[in-house]
Symmetry: D3
Subunit: 238 residues, 6 copies
């Protein structure tokens, strides 16, 4: 079930927080990629289907600098194969002591039209990556070459990232709060539902700024809240 343009567009307008609540209603509690943050929190929301790369711990004799001379090295191969519009998600086993990737690879992903990149480890050249247009998320900057601790071993298999399960094709959404994983077959309905939820949250925020109490308003247990919201939607055209 590929990610439709319509679903992508909707998800770009909602927050990871709202998505988490929608997933929670369905019994999904561990879809947030834990302890990962945007290199540039001011970027627009990232949306795309997951294309994954799995790292295992590096063994010294298998990881001289020369391994990258092999065009089939999984890290380099994955960077060239990740589809435009996808989000490149790396399972670094929550280990940021060596880099998951650096500026050149992330730039290549941007040029190839990839929608974003996430690792539960860290990026090197973090300041340069932050300035790129492509949204990027990691745990913390990490200068050592990835060979120091990581060996790329599998492309596009199910992985863990920040303690969350990620299956290829799951939809990744990232904003200033971090990244959430929407199971592929739920993406469309979550997108629709969260657009609606967001309208109500925006209405509530406006009313709260105007001085209204959250009781009866958030959630809308007072009948008046529902009436006011309906009026607000008409007025706002949402």
């Amino acid at each position: 079930m590929p990610l439709s343009q319509s679903t992508r567009n909707k998800l770009k307008t909602v927050s990871t927080a709202t998505i988490c609540t929608a997933l929670y209603k369905r019994g999904l509690r561990n879809q947030m990629i834990q302890d990962v943050r945007p290199l540039d929190p001011s970027k627009p929301t990232m949306v795309g289907a997951a294309f994954t790369l799995r790292y295992m711990p590096a063994r010294e004799d298998l990881n001289p600098v020369t391994v990258f001379q092999d065009r089939l090295h999984p890290q380099r191969k994955a960077v060239e194969e990740c589809p435009p519009g996808a989000v490149f998600v790396i399972d670094s086993r929550r280990d940021p002591r060596a880099a998951s990737a650096g500026n050149i690879l992330v730039t290549r992903l941007q040029v190839r039209g990839v929608a974003g990149i996430v690792t539960d480890g860290g990026f090197r050249d973090a300041a340069e990556i932050a300035k790129l247009d492509i949204p990027s998320f990691h745990n913390r900057p990490s200068a050592p070459t990835n060979l120091t601790r990581h060996q790329a071993i599998d492309i596009n298999v199910p992985i863990g990232c920040g303690d969350a399960p990620v299956f290829p094709g799951d939809v990744i959404v990232g904003d200033a709060d971090g990244c959430v994983v929407i199971p592929a077959d739920l993406a469309e309905e979550i997108a629709a539902e969260t657009v609606e939820m967001t309208a109500y949250e925006d209405f509530v925020t406006e009313k709260v700024f105007e001085g209204r109490s959250i009781l009866g308003l958030y959630p809308a247990t007072d009948e008046q809240s529902k009436i006011d919201f309906a009026a607000w939607r008409r007025a706002k055209g949402r």
Copy 2:
């Protein structure tokens, strides 16, 4: 012993670092809320008496999304009851894997005149909260709804926050270094003492920028340092 306006005003002009030193002189070593940071480090210093909320781990069957339809739910009740001028302090058991609160509740606290909010967990909608006028402090952004891991259970009881003891009414001061807890009955004398200490530190900083050695100056073991400081105070009117 309520926090007087005079004490509040004094504390707004001093740093958490200076307060920690004053507390240290009295044998209080664990008053810093550990590993908590401002969402917007450029905000003015936060000062207020602690109003507390205690979370326990959430049990799935007790925490459907519908619990918030109860107007007496402790989280929502606490937000409506926290006194203007107070600091809302949440014991999230140092667990940022789910949100302690989000943008709407924090906005409501701001509108109600609350002086600030602190959790040793994390906030969702962190970018929006950072833009509010109310100062806010947490460990890291966290999008999952608080029901995922937290159940609000007690209002305004003694709690731990970031390994520091917090009693209702203790005075919380927060700046770019984080938040410190001043026992209520010490607030006035700490305020007075730290204003004095700050004057000396400002004098020292100025002299150090002018090239003077810290030896004999910081602390003032040279008689000349005391003489110069007296002159500086007169000149500055402090």
Copy 3:
């Protein structure tokens, strides 16, 4: 083997990531000071020979506030003795629960011409330190006075900092990714090699922005990549 001006100048133009790769080629995998970040990531690259200070855990009876009245207290003595151009490196045993130093000491280091300061603990007055010209690196802000947990015990001995070995005289380089430790006797050759590597990386980045694949280019396994790079160097005068 003192750090020459020429080596210092070269190192100011390269990244910690590139240096890590050069060290990795020589079998040195643990030279990155782990989990340390710049207080102001926009500062120029820090370069200098390490001058070290070792902290041990503080014992309450030995660390009243009055210890700083002793002009020979190792922390204060070290600040006055650190040579201009050096980097002041503190072994805080990766414990940021109390400050490694504050604004006044760091200002004094700046005035004395010190090139930078690094701790694997935290600084107090972090916002002020960030505004100084001197580059500074720590784990996170920490307001409690260093006496709360740290006792300065040794000046300019070999230490650990962020799990990396640091010998006095080793060359410390710091940028937005953090700080790396170059063994003193390797500094000159690493500087020369990384300047060359940086030229190639800049060339690659430019080509990748232009749309070229990384395969055959990074590393330069295609003959054409080498030819193009030679032309690029001539054109750029590098």
Copy 4:
């Protein structure tokens, strides 16, 4: 809903692992008290209703050794009030750096007929406590007096222990794997169900020792497994 003798007796014959599976079927995933172990793993299974004690971080001025001269000190009061047959559960905020209790208090609990004690911190005099008849569970031994880090603040309120929610009256079961929390109103049905599950597990274990594959047997997807189990029950009188 008090714990009946019949339910208690049943729970004494089943394992925490089996109970966890029964809770999991009901959507309860966080009922295991994490990272807690028996001081003597060879003791019989502990069963009892939770009587709780909540610790907050200790403040130095409030916790001189003399506080225990107060007969109303919550720690001492709780030890004298915990009902016979109950399990004494302490919320130590997962901090074993100071003791949750020591040999004398645990001995008193034993003499008073208490069924067991659990903390997510540590006990002092651990070797002596291990030799008592009363089952005890902690994270690791910890000699410092509890005043060093803990202040008893609340008796028999809902708490967290090892990241699990514990409400007074919940049924705690402990064996070599650790401790699990059964919500009070589920205890009877969980006891009944796990006795049944245990019978099947014992049958399976016997068959596996005899050489049978787990496929079709565990779980019983082969019809023959059900037939054999029925025969086994008749033969064993279970």
Copy 5:
């Protein structure tokens, strides 16, 4: 390169510590499976070729208890397919909050002739597993069913276990210190070398008990040490 009986027999007589030193001489520093311990430290040394199972984080909707009714479920399939003489190694992402396996599966492995089992998570029914003949290693006991946090996803692929790289066929050796991973193609030479090293270590231990200094003896920098060792070997027939 399958593990020969001769190599297996040699490795059963040496320690993981000696093997680590032999690997260290070859530049392999990360072959110890970190933070894993035997359930019964008194068992003989475990030796076997790695057969691996990879877990990813569990997603709630994909992991009802009924998944085990599928005979092709990778966890159950792996248990039936692991070759006799092999060591079953599970990548649990260092997460012991739910079980990696329990008594029935481990018993089945024993009956099938498997040489041992290792996880960097935890086992449930730990006391029963400890009593089996098959050696077992984990981080700590963990009662919750593995579905709570783990989903078996891949059989016999390269994995990480306790931060060490494990390729299928690598030779796993386990004793009271834990488990070490010998790359398959080094097993024979490491076995031969460590048998020799062990002879010398046994000789040294005997001499040290007799009162000899370690200087010149360990390592054998004194000529006399070598002469004495040669005599000792002749006397002992080693």
Copy 6:
């Protein structure tokens, strides 16, 4: 102030828990070596003056296996120089990922009459070390040679061990709860005081086993408790 035989004998009869309380009364809260345990908890209490060894992180090029051929290597030198009756304390920076020492060195310490050994890292050959007569304490077993992560750099300097300050000559006491550090100049008075405290604790334990409440007894706020204790002492001859 050397440790007298009389003080040593007294300390052998008291527990680390009682010593911690006596230190706490003097304002010393951080003297417990955190997260360290005996390899054999059934050994008699260890007592001796601290002789220290400091490790820094290992740098690969400085730590080939051949470094031990140098008779002046600090680790080997320290083992030969540690005085009989002393406790050998190693600062391993709380890193047990490589061994602090192994069986041969610990055996040599035993033969030389050393009173015990403590590291905040781990020992290799842990099962053999546990069987020696010399008491030993560590975090967990660790097979990799110490060169993998540690370089011995300083002998008998002030160190941190398990977050506690250790000065050469401080008195280390170790039992099943772990190890505590008594400042050298307090050892005699702490020994005297804790012998007295232990008498009272033994009396209390006996009374509690007989059924007496802890209120009024522990601490002795009831006059009767003091009278009974006096009688008990006379009867027991203590």
